[in-house]
Amino acid sequence: MATVPKVEVGTDYKEKYGFFVPEEYVFKAKRGLNPEIVKEISWMKQEPEWMTNMRLRSLEIFRKKPMPKWGADLSVIDFENIFYYLKASDKQSKTWEELPPDIKATYDRLGVPEAERKFLAGVSAQYESEVVYHSLQEELTKKGVIFTDTDSALRDHPELFKEYFGTVIPPADNKFSALNTAVWSGGSFIYVPKGVRVDIPLQAYFRINAENMGQFERTLIICDEGSFVHYIEGCTAPIYSTDSLHSAVVEIIVKKNARCRYTTIQNWSTNVYNLVTKRAMAYADATMEWVDGNLGSQITMKYPSVYLMEPGAKGDVLSVAFAGKGQHQDAGGKMIHVAPNTTSTITSKSISKGGGRTSYRGHIKIYPGANNCKSFVKCDALLLDDESRSDTYPYNDVDAENVTLGHEATVSKVSDEQLFYLMSRGINRAEAETMIVNGFIEPFTKELPLEYAVELNRLIQLEMEGSVG
């Protein structure tokens, strides 16, 4: 049969999309974590005292909290061997032309300028630990929309910032939210005023590019009443020889009648620990949608959640996880029904290949008095071979009346019948398998802007190429 070039995910990462630009740092923090480093980070950023204190408090919490043991194995993370802050260049760029050349080269390969030409309202590209490139179209400014990096937001919009920062995910929420609050840097800040609809998706590209470098970006999105915004983060990263930690916190407030969609395609290199806390508060008749794609990393633990705070609130999680050799994708979603007449859906699609492991972990909580709620969970797992593994851990706590709760789970393999059918039309095995996998995640892909959908299908194709010798 036709020979297909063998590409091992991981080892050939560099050729595929793990390009590498020599590092050039203005400031390089020391490895490890202690109050002095935290103070230094805050001082470097010229932050107000309340933030310095919050960081120090969070560090204490981080130290006291035990490592979570209920999920993936995190014992190998060495917190003393991580850089907690790096700054790639000492100033922020307003236009593409002003970007430092090596950073520009990286983004050129990622296609950022092209994407921008096509439909970007603004680009906030995180290189290393800080946002270095940022542009905002005049139209958005006129509408009163704030789209900036989180460090600038603290400086330029202190009142707004202080009102919401840490209110959705307090430092003590979990060990990694505490860590993030202690050492956070970069991330996006979005404020959409009352009744304003941002029609074009706002995008950020994240990359990490330093050995042993942690990334602790912090994103805060506030959708005021009746507003709409779609935010997209897409990540690819080069491979490194030692482990790397990515631990972000994303907080979103969706006020009455507003709608927010947050789309992620993360493709960290396969040595990254990706431990992310994402949570949104949805108020009366508001809608929060998480569209979450996890392809890379060694371990991902991520459960986007929505707190449905007032009647009529709606929460959606649509997630896809792909785990190849040596990878564990522990992902899912949480829906917390605090108010009556709220609805939620979680749709999870996972693919395991070459011994990779995917887990769906979900929590549906319906508080006393939150009557007439509806929640539906659907998780489908696709196993591409016998060595791979998939597990489902659904937790439901229902303390209210007249609740509709549905759960549906399937585990399947690429069927011989489907393969035979496609191959009988002249399509080779590798391509047929890729088609079946892309078809499996199509409910996810169709929610993405076209360019991302194409890129995702391409990534799947690259991941699949290793499967046939």
Binding site: D416, Q418, F420, Y421, S424, G426, I427, M435, E442
Partner: protein, 261 residues
């Protein structure tokens, strides 16, 4: 020598011997019909010819264009010029019929994403599709639908014949294409197949019933009983079966179809 030569083909499923030495020579331009009851090996024949992994070849050869196709993967057989219209077309969710047809055509032409001259252009694709859709009484609306997903019996079979028309095989195997079809659908399908008949195409119709042979006239008819051909001849064999059924081989069933609503 015929274009497509099956010699003493023996095959089994899960250790059970089904085909016990089948030989058949098909040349392009000819239409052969293989008739038989359920369980006589009709499906095994079609699946083995196309290379389904669930069927084990125990002996014999199938020579097409100088190669023993039994040694090839299903996709290689297809690219060589073989086609199987499935009795039970398979559902593949998430992939549109349009995407599927285009990918299959590109594969058939050897387009691997590099040599653009081999690629089927959108204009060419549209043009080819339009004519075939008309003959099969289908419309554009099925193109964005997922492969066979939610298709009625008639739609599935028509979609199979559409694929055949687009891929232009040299040897086509129609596996019980008439089963489960109403008379109108059979007519549309037969019309499309008859349009493709010609010196470039050899057809093997596998069927339980004689009805489809009223619309697609075979040149040769072979009767399969218990994994072997017991009778071969011209169209008169089908007529004989129509009258007497399979009784002369000790089988009670008739060759008349059940009524399809």
């Amino acid at each position: 020598m015929a274009d497509f030569e099956i010699k003493d083909l023996r095959a089994s499923v899960e250790g059970r011997e089904i085909l016990k030495g089948v030989s058949l020579a098909i040349s392009r331009g000819e239409v052969h019909a293989v008739m038989g009851l359920n369980g006589t090996g009709k499906s095994t024949l079609s699946h083995t010819l196309m290379g389904h992994p669930g069927y084990t070849v125990d002996g014999g050869s199938v020579i097409f264009k100088g190669q023993n196709v039994l040694e090839l993967e299903p996709d290689e057989r297809a690219r060589l010029g073989m086609f199987l219209a499935f009795q039970y077309p398979v559902v593949v969710p998430g992939i549109s019929m349009a995407n599927f047809l285009r990918t299959a055509m590109n594969s058939k032409r050897g387009y691997d994403g590099k040599d653009k001259s081999k690629q089927v252009t959108p204009k060419e694709f549209r043009g080819l599709l339009k004519g075939e859709l008309e003959v099969l009484h289908m419309d554009d609306s099925f193109l964005p639908r997922y492969i066979n997903d939610g298709f009625s019996g008639g739609e599935k079979k028509r979609a199979e014949i559409l694929q055949m028309a687009m891929l232009k095989p040299e040897i086509a195997i129609l596996d019980e294409t008439d089963s489960g079809l109403d008379i109108d659908s059979i007519k549309f399908v037969a019309e499309a197949v008859n349009r493709m008949r010609g010196p470039e195409l050899g057809i093997l119709i596998i069927t339980h019933y004689t009805r489809i042979l009223e619309f697609i006239k075979p040149d040769f008819v072979h009767v399969l009983v218990d994994g072997k051909f017991v009778l071969s001849g011209g169209p008169e064999v089908a007529e004989r079966l129509e009258k007497t059924g399979y009784a002369e081989w000790g089988k009670e069933e008739t060759a008349q179809p059940e009524e399809v609503a």
